[in-house]
Symmetry: C2
Subunit: 421 residues, 2 copies
């Protein structure tokens, strides 16, 4: 009997991570000679440590197929890193205990760079612990900061949502600007890389509108220079859209969104780059403004997912399985850009070592010399990733996202306490 | 020769106000015996006072037809109220001067309760000034607070967007809650009425998820009671979605979003009910949380507009014209709910007097006794308004929203300065 396969989700989830899950599930089932059952761990690696394992054979097949269009992490995700094998051997002993108890031969971990490090640790654990297990990464991150791969599943859909709502909200601001709001500030995610902020500029592709200034995570915020650009834009166009990365930095490299402790106001203000920037603009220019923070909404907006992104997420899930069938181990599927116009892509593999805990920033040459926009090269890179629509089914006016039952396998191992601090 | 018609947009714009514009334009052109040309004022009544009038015959017919699926106010809107006719007679003299110069016989004003007051003043002005003009209101507001009409065009689409993103973001929070975020706070619009916050509860229609607490604009915020409900929800479900109206009130009736001036911190914090609430929850419970503010995005989200809303907005525009053809004056089309299940609606008329400067709040019986949810009656009222999808055309991965050229008619009147303070 072939050994079973276990799939788990890790880190911040996306609009399409479940499409990867479905790709893995479908492909495992397509290879009964290589795999026994397909299980899913609840809440990522935590579910393995806790022996919380879902038997997907117990789920409604229609619900599983609906994973392709359901946002969030259907099996639960986690923010948890495995310790160093020398420092925390008991974690690894526990993993082997659980893998052995449920005859798991392959582990698929769907996440970003940090999760690839977890997958790598598990891949390396096998020999050491006398329980060989294949560990495969499946790429996912809205931050688009995974190395080697041309883009990361999850990013394209978040980018499409951001570009769409920027185009729409800009029309709103433009309508109001002569007697009301002149500045609209939108905060998007991206602690370290400005990819999502850059995607906002795609809103300009149709007719060069709206006038926009982008403050990237890569930028050290120069207040005077920014206000000068803002005032000049408003003079010329009457209004301005400002897109700010949550990761915008102060000149000293600290996060802009966290107010400095102040001699007079001995308190720390809650983060939020947009409200802080809005306050600054209002104080310094007096312009009427509105601001928005899309937060989780941008990474779960499956209703406006990019078709390219959905297909790539699904393909990465399938390829992870097919790589195992072909005899590979300790790899992550990557997306290759075979041609840009027309956009053609294919799937390749990269060793987990090349992506584990590596962060791939946005190239400096993607930012215009003034620091507030993106170059044509950036547009050429980004545009293909948001192409195509892939609407979920709607019922009663809303997208229909079935929830898995998630019944756990009976436990076979003793309890184990995970320290999550 | 019949006199010309003039259309203008007023107040905060919506995802479907341009569908009403297209309804007016198409219907006026369908009645050449009753109307000459159809014009649009730039930036609402301000454009009339400034004699900034767009000849729609100069626009590309395809661009005009695309108004049906384009958000924002295509002709520009304004926040401006006409003065009292006795105090500001020169404003009314100016209106007559411009109407006369361009032979305007009918004025259509597309807005909310305040704009209906402007329309009413213009309707009454005619006799007084010796220049009879028909003034017709066309309803619009995402706040759903217009009187007499069963619902307001613009509300259904904003409600559909909110319910959709709440459903999606909730799946995200649910995925993360065991090791990360347990509370997601979303701020929606609504200074005086909690209609938009109530719409978030439609996200629960599919399977009773997610666990949610709503803080309505009608609510006086009871911090202890709220935190108790929050903790209980998290104990039971592991996480909680909190939806807060921007108009949430402190126990003393002041706005929650504006921090009270403080003895120590002699400053006023910028508004934002969500970040304030997030700070409070973090301080008092220690739960990890995320927050979002959708602001203009919720009222311009044409990509996920309600089909019912689009059709009603368009029908109200057409009906405004058809009422004039039938001999009516000084009225506003209203939406009547003829049956709830199945939902059937028709268009009626109401005199401007009945809607001018009237605000229709949410009935108290739509809020559950504990104050944090909506009743079945509210669900039955809200559900039909978000039904159906009406996606705009997409190009290059993004919705395609053509912009009108907006070339102004040559001026025939002397300049006039409008005091907008």
């Amino acid at each position: 009997m072939p050994q079973n396969a276990l799939y788990a989700q890790s880190g911040g989830v996306t609009a399409v991570i479940n499409a990867s899950a479905w790709g893995v599930i479908e492909a495992v089932r397509a290879h009964p000679a290589h795999f026994g059952k397909i299980y899913a761990a609840r809440d990522g690696i935590l579910g393995v440590l806790r022996e919380e394992i879902i038997d997907l054979d117990q789920e409604d097949p229609l619900t599983l197929a609906a994973l392709r269009h359901t946002p969030g992490g259907a099996f639960g995700s986690c923010r948890f890193d495995l310790g160093d094998p020398d420092q925390d051997p008991e974690q690894y002993e526990r993993l082997v205990e659980v893998f052995r108890a449920h005859d798991i031969g392959t582990f698929f971990y769907n996440g970003g760079g940090g999760s690839m490090d977890t997958a790598l640790k598990i891949a390396r654990m096998g020999d050491r612990m006398g329980f060989p297990i294949k560990a495969i990464g499946v790429p996912k991150t809205i931050d688009n900061d995974l190395a080697v791969t041309d883009s990361s599943p999850g990013f394209g859909s978040a980018a499409k949502f951001i570009a769409t709502v920027v185009r729409e909200a800009s029309l709103d601001v433009e309508s109001m600007h002569t007697s009301s709001t002149k500045v609209f500030v939108l905060e998007v995610m991206g602690r370290h890389a400005g990819w999502l902020a850059a995607a906002a500029a795609l809103a300009q592709e149709f007719d060069g509108q709206p006038p926009m200034l982008i403050l990237f995570a890569e930028t050290l915020f120069d207040q005077d220079d920014f206000l000068e650009h803002l005032n000049r834009t408003i003079e010329r166009h009457g209004y301005c859209v400002v897109v700010v990365s949550e990761g915008l930095k102060n000149p000293d490299g600290t996060l802009f969104s966290v107010a400095q402790s102040h001699d007079v106001y001995a308190y720390t203000q809650l983060g939020g780059a947009a409200p802080r920037l809005a306050e600054l603009i209002r104080e310094q220019t007096g312009h009427k403004l509105h601001w928005a923070v899309v937060d989780y909404i941008q990474r779960s907006a499956r209703h406006i997912a990019s078709k390219v992104d959905v297909e790539q997420a699904y393909a990465c899930g399938r390829a992870a399985v097919e790589g195992v069938v072909a005899g590979e181990d300790a790899f992550m599927p990557i997306i290759r850009r075979d041609s840009n116009d027309p956009y053609r892509w294919s799937i390749g593999f990269t060793p987990l070592e090349t992506v584990a805990d590596v962060e791939q920033g946005m190239p400096r040459e993607y930012i215009t010399p003034d620091g507030y926009g993106i170059t044509q090269a950036a547009r050429d890179y980004l545009r293909p990733l948001i192409q195509g629509e892939d609407a979920p089914p709607f019922d009663q006016g809303l997208p229909c996202y079935p929830r898995i039952r998630g019944e756990l396998l009976p436990k076979r191992c003793p309890p184990f306490e995970v320290k999550t601090d």
